[in-house]
Symmetry: C2
Subunit: 321 residues, 2 copies
């Protein structure tokens, strides 16, 4: 099918929403987003971030967009528009219509617009999703760099679910009972970026925010280094997705390491002053999980397990290039 035909089809299945004046079809999309804006791009590469055998086209679209929305959420901002680069392999790759349908459904949930992009041939499927977001009321975006000694380390939800989902997609024999297994697969294939949580944490007065897309231990270390203080993480306090411990154990992994060291969960990590915890939970309308604290010490991460210093072998997801 001709590239131009696809651009027309994709244009026909996307909806323009608030903040976007002109979408797919011109040299560039036209937006009207209030300053300050946030801008991010994420890559999903076949054979690196996903396998086609275990990722249907609609989930792939959802997941690629979710990763970039999560980065916007991690700044305390809301997504406005995405532009999408799609490389299509010789065999046609995942169904392009389904892929954009998966993206469009998530875009609709977040009242944002798939506003443009580019299509190309190539050896494997690659998705390069760029999202522009904006903060409400012109509030300054919340970076990784503001944590202060004494702040609590909070996470917005259970971890390890996405990696457990990936494991049981690859090795169905590891799967727990169906409802739990379904939730784990969904955590991997259809992650929900925490936009509302990011807004609530920013409004409650969090000092720093980021998503833990590469794993809590690795991302918390990055946050601590950016903030110039030390994070103490209590491994046994890390909330685990239902079934994640069971799958990790079946795969021969330590469940606590699994939860703290596996990526793609897209929960948020916040540095929150202790006296803002109640207000944050009121705005979030659910409890936060306190997994540690920041302290004045050389920047980095200190892991504790039942109060004793600890280490984990695989702290998270990172490429060797």
């Amino acid at each position: 099918v001709h590239e131009t035909t696809w651009v027309e089809r994709i244009g026909a299945q996307t909806t323009l929403r608030a903040g976007v004046e002109l979408g797919i079809g011109d040299d560039a999309a036209v937006l009207s987003a209030p300053a300050p804006q946030v801008l991010t791009e994420d890559l999903l590469v076949e054979g690196v971030h996903f396998r086609r055998e275990t990722t249907d086209a609609a989930s792939l679209g959802h997941k690629a967009l979710a990763a970039s929305i999560s980065d916007v959420a991690a700044m305390g901002a809301v997504p406005v528009a995405a532009v999408v680069g799609l490389v299509v392999p010789p065999d046609g790759g995942p169904d392009i219509g389904e892929l954009y349908a998966g993206m469009e459904a998530l875009a609709a949930e977040h009242a944002m617009t798939i506003a443009g992009g580019d299509l190309s041939k190539g050896p494997v499927t690659v998705l390069a999703v760029c999202v522009l977001g904006a903060t409400p009321h012109g509030r300054a975006p919340l970076t990784r760099a503001g944590a202060l000694p004494g702040d609590l380390v909070c996470v917005t939800g259970p971890l390890g679910g996405s990696e457990a989902g990936r494991l049981i997609l690859e090795r169905p024999e590891l799967a727990p009972a169906p409802p739990v297994a379904d939730a784990l697969r969904a955590a991997h294939l259809r992650p929900a970026p925490r936009v509302a949580d990011g807004l609530a944490l920013a409004a409650a007065g969090a000092h720093a925010l980021m998503d833990c897309s590469d794993g809590l231990a690795l991302d918390l270390q990055r946050l601590a280094v950016a903030s110039g203080c030390r994070a103490v993480l209590e491994l046994e306090a890390v909330p685990r997705a239902p079934g994640a411990d069971e799958v990790a154990a079946a795969a021969g992994r330590d469940p606590l390491e699994h939860a703290a060291g596996s990526g793609e969960d897209y929960e948020l990590i916040a540095a929150l002053p202790a006296d803002r915890l109640d207000e944050a939970e009121r705005l979030l309308e659910r409890p936060l999980v306190v997994v540690g604290r920041f302290e004045e010490a050389s920047p980095g991460l200190r892991l504790l397990r039942d109060g004793a210093p600890s280490e984990i072998t695989t702290p998270g997801w990172v490429h060797d290039l």
Copy 2:
């Protein structure tokens, strides 16, 4: 080399410029661009858009950014910030430092910022460059859709140079004398996006604007269809880059078809009311080339050659997916 190390190195070699508050290193870049903004993304895929044998790393960086800046220029906007997705093949691919140096040099020319992005492993080099731009004085961006019957079809400079440059990089035996050949290679490897020209044409009152990155014949047809009128293109009036005719002829191609049907020149096509030509040339500080006109007829392109209806076999660059 570790991904994190590269992110640090790339961050160290980029400069924050006006409109960007926070660059590489957080979940997202922070910008303050006045509304309206324009947003675009372009893909460059190894083996499809370039070959490593004929494209050095710095040129590749330049070229990838230039393609997206050109889309911003084609809206009458100026680039503010880019986020860059880079897929790195197993052998390391083009030198990453050189590649970003090529981008940074072009970003400096346009007073814009390389503000973020993503790195991944993958089978071949892929660059996915997203650029955000803004129009001066809150002026509405100039789309493809405004051409009116009676408008002139103008182009900002000579065509066919990039494709001639590509041809002589692939087949050195086709090269003309050195200074001409050098200019053709530079047209291919280091194209100059026409940001100032886009601003001048918008200020002069152009009705529609786009870049001719996929070839004049194809892109003018798209502009005419978007505008709901017919474009008449006089092939013999198409300005040709010095040496392009000679290289095209040596490669067995018709020089006029070569100029009108080859891509990556990044000159702009404008629909300009005849009474705005003088003002446009005054603002551009050089002549425009009038290559045809728009007329009231079923939307599309009509090619003339010395006054007689004509056709070209390869109207431009488009993927079959």
